[in-house]
């Protein structure tokens, strides 16, 4: 056992860091550093730069344009992107649909879909949750009926992140309403968002922004050829996909980056006439978060190393542990940044302070420090982190069922 990174791993980290510093657009870096969300263009531009280098698809097998990096290298890569304020690659494309196509797709699907997903020529989104099917996903009702060479899809999806900017959606539909168990009547379809009959309606979230949507399907024609794997076996595909989702969802590097950012801010913000960074209570809080991050880093390494060694390819139930701790840490670090800004984080003046997106000729003086305008929204939006991807309560049920067996 040796918990230190090897010389090669340290060199690899430096290589990734140098690459990001040399290639990431300064405006994108600054936007993410201040806590703003990456724009669609930020993400597309960065993923294409990575793709040219062969790094966008770092999680895929080498034969499909991936890398032969070790689990540790993959973790370092993800972490460095997050720490250096780079946008994260589009998870729907890289972590979800890509591996699904590689595992279940036909040769034609692989040839057509994978390169476009890698280069973000197509932006994918996920049509899983429904108003009546959240934690109990298998109770979903969106129906697909086969007519000739097509399925006719009717129903509604909800909480569909980025549907308003997506080209394609992978959708779970019910193809057999009479199956013995609800899981046995579900199929996995790929749907072109331009197909007639699809309506996307925005859901504004408590951070005041538009990330989420409702997606309505009204007699939407989907070719049978766009079904992945067998009819009524879509649940197997979904389980495979969700197992992959859970490891990336910890986003540990992002938490580390927020801790660094908080330390930076706390040097300039004052409390009781001294820099906040000198306040003993504040220092303890930061130190506690650093301990949590260190523990999670090592646990994550242990889980991914074990997954690499396992031959069955089944998702490790320990990935639920990473999801729970990772999202808690994301929430706590976002809360830390907001608390530093204090009263200045409370006005909804993000737009007024957004100097990076100022329109040409707008010389209106700003009314507060740039960074304060975006100190609260990540805190607000990240309340969803313990809800999406399977609530943290559901993750604990998974741990119980798979490991504790109480």
């Amino acid at each position: 056992m040796d918990l230190r990174f090897t010389e090669q791993e340290v060199a690899f980290r430096q290589e990734v860091r140098d690459f990001i510093q040399q290639n990431l657009a300064p405006k994108t870096r600054e936007r993410l550093r201040l806590g703003y969300s990456a724009t669609k263009q930020d993400i597309v531009d960065w993923q294409r730069i990575l793709n040219k280098k062969g790094w966008a698809t770092y999680k895929w097998p080498k034969a499909y344009g991936g890398t032969d990096w070790s689990p540790t290298q993959r973790m370092i890569f993800q972490e460095e992107n997050q720490i250096c304020h780079a946008p994260e690659v589009n998870g729907f494309n890289i972590t979800m649909i890509g591996p699904v196509i590689i595992q279940f797709g036909t040769p034609e699907q692989k040839a057509h879909i994978l390169p476009r997903a890698a280069n973000l020529d197509d932006w994918w989104c996920q049509g899983f949750s429904e108003p009546g099917a959240g934690s109990d996903l298998a109770s979903l009702k969106t129906a697909a009926k086969q007519v000739g060479d097509d399925y006719i899809v009717n129903g509604q999806k909800i909480w569909t992140s980025t549907a308003h900017m997506a080209d394609w959606c992978f959708v779970l539909v019910r193809t057999n309403p009479n199956a013995r168990k609800p899981q046995e009547g579900i199929s996995f379809l790929l749907v072109d968002m331009k197909t007639p009959g699809i309506t996307v309606r925005p859901i504004i979230s408590i951070d005041g922004a538009h990330h989420l949507n409702e997606v309505f399907f009204d007699d939407v024609k989907v070719p049978v050829a766009n079904r992945i794997y067998e009819e009524n076996k879509g649940w197997d595909v979904a389980k495979f996909l969700l197992g992959n989702e859970r490891t990336g969802i910890a986003r540990l590097g992002k938490s580390m980056e927020r801790i660094n950012y908080a330390r930076e801010l706390a040097r300039d913000v004052r409390q009781n006439g001294k820099p906040l960074i000198d306040d003993p209570g504040f220092r303890q809080r930061v130190a506690k978060l650093q301990v949590q991050a260190k523990a999670l880093e090592l646990t994550q390494l242990r889980v991914v190393s074990k997954a690499a060694a396992a031959s069955d390819g089944k998702p490790d139930p320990f990935s639920s542990l990473l999801k729970i701790k990772g999202t808690e840490l994301l929430q706590d670090t976002a809360e830390l940044v907001m608390d530093i800004a204090g009263p200045l984080a409370m006005p909804d003046w993000a737009k007024e302070l957004d100097s990076l997106n100022r329109e040409e000729g707008d010389n209106e003086p700003r009314i507060g420090p740039d960074w304060a305008g975006y100190a609260a929204p990540p805190y607000l939006m990240l309340r969803a982190a313990s809800i999406y991807g399977g609530t943290n309560e559901i993750q604990k049920n998974i741990l119980n069922k798979a490991i504790l067996r109480l």
């Binding site: 934690s135 109770s139 504004i204 408590i206 009781n272 209570g281 809080r285 609260a376 309340r383």
Partner: protein
């Protein structure tokens, strides 16, 4: 000890409850937010009719001679209904400043106008660089003949955009962090050199940034003693904490009630999710924290009129920590137990969450007040 309300307080509580139940449905509130001033003039007039605007002022000024417990009751009801009107700014903050610092002429002129609803005030003390330090005042007032000239800026002034008169603190002597040397001024909103930029807060209430550029005031604009306002500033802030703590308790109580309703009606896996023991325990934890917070809001209300400043500030800090920490827990859990719907703008629980968040970040968050208390641990 006596935890019971008087008959008058019960009657008042009932009439406030009825008015808000009738006029503050979530959709109606959305309409008030969308109006240009962001709140309802009609309801403001109703509060005046009901006597709420005169609650804490002596009968000599047309008030009702009530105390902080009366304010607590009203603020709890306001919290349950997410009330948007400038009550805290005018009656609690501005009103306290005049009550504690005003001379007879000022009280005689201004308090009756608050009571009848014709005067709205704003408390313009905090500055951007100050965060939670009450004595960090960089706005200056320099002598100009018998009057004063003010220069500076004030930040996150509740309802500063609609106030008729602002109570503004400025340094008349001493250095940036000195407790001594700060003076309060009454500045009518139309005074040349005073500019304000209004905006919505994260919870939909209104506030403003205020700038003061060569604002000329007469000697009669001074509220209280020149150079000696810090004790008043502390009292006004404490009254604000006590009132807003009660409001936060109301918001927590309502968020908890909504969560229980959701647990009873949301069906997953063929049964209401409230049948899961883990969610029952979380809901029970919320109940515990709501009641703990309520106790601390009561403590804060009792302490507003305490004469010993050390005792008063120590207990107000305890209440701020207690309500702040419980409030975070309760409203975060309310969002969590609702799942996706709790994350949306169009659902009420997220609005409670943000109202409590704003409370927590005004006049010192839990960590700040915990620090003050920790300094006193011997």
């Amino acid at each position: 000890m006596d935890f019971d309300l008087t008959e008058d307080q019960r009657l008042l509580n009932d009439s406030v409850g009825r008015l808000l139940a009738d006029r503050y449905a979530f959709d109606a509130r959305r309409g008030y937010i969308k109006s240009p001033q962001g709140w309802s003039q009609d309801l403001w007039d109703k509060y005046a009719e009901l006597g709420l605007l005169g609650l804490p002022f002596a009968e000599d000024y047309g008030g009702f001679g009530g105390n902080a417990v009366d304010i607590m009751m009203v603020m709890e009801a306001f919290g349950r209904n997410l009330v948007l009107e400038p009550y805290l700014a005018t009656v609690v903050l501005g009103g306290s400043a005049i009550k504690y610092a005003g001379n007879e002429a000022q009280k005689g002129e201004l308090l009756p106008q608050i009571v009848d609803g014709s005067l709205k005030l704003a408390w313009a003390h905090s500055e951007q660089q100050a965060r939670y330090d009450l004595s960090d005042v960089m706005t200056t007032a320099t002598k100009d003949g018998s009057g004063w000239i003010l220069e500076g800026a004030k930040s996150v002034v509740f309802h500063g955009d609609c106030a008729d008169t602002l109570v503004v603190s400025a340094r008349t002597s001493g250095d940036r962090m000195d407790k001594a040397g700060v003076t309060l001024f009454l500045i009518p909103a139309g005074t040349p050199g005073l500019a304000r930029r209004g905006y919505a807060m994260r919870d939909g209430t209104r506030a403003a940034e205020i700038s003061l550029s060569s604002v000329k005031l007469g000697a009669d604009a001074v509220l209280g003693t020149v150079g000696d306002a810090m004790a008043v500033i502390e009292r006004v802030t404490q009254a604000g904490i006590a009132a807003m703590a009660a409001e936060a308790v109301g918001a927590c109580e309502a968020a908890h009630a909504m969560t229980l309703e959701y647990l009873r009606t949301r069906v997953q896996f063929g049964r209401p999710i409230g049948q899961n023991q883990v969610l029952q325990h979380k809901a029970a934890d919320m109940l515990i924290e709501v009641e703990q917070a309520r106790s601390m809001a009561m403590l804060a209300a009792m302490m507003v009129d305490e004469n010993d400043p050390a005792e008063r500030s120590r207990n107000i800090s305890m209440a701020k920590v207690g309500v702040g920490q419980s409030g975070r827990f309760v409203t975060q859990a309310a969002v969590q137990l609702h799942g996706g719907i709790g994350m949306t703008e169009e659902y009420q629980v997220g609005h409670y969450f943000r109202r409590v968040m704003v409370f927590e970040h005004m006049w010192g968050d839990s960590a700040y007040h915990l620090g003050l208390l920790a300094d006193q641990v011997a």
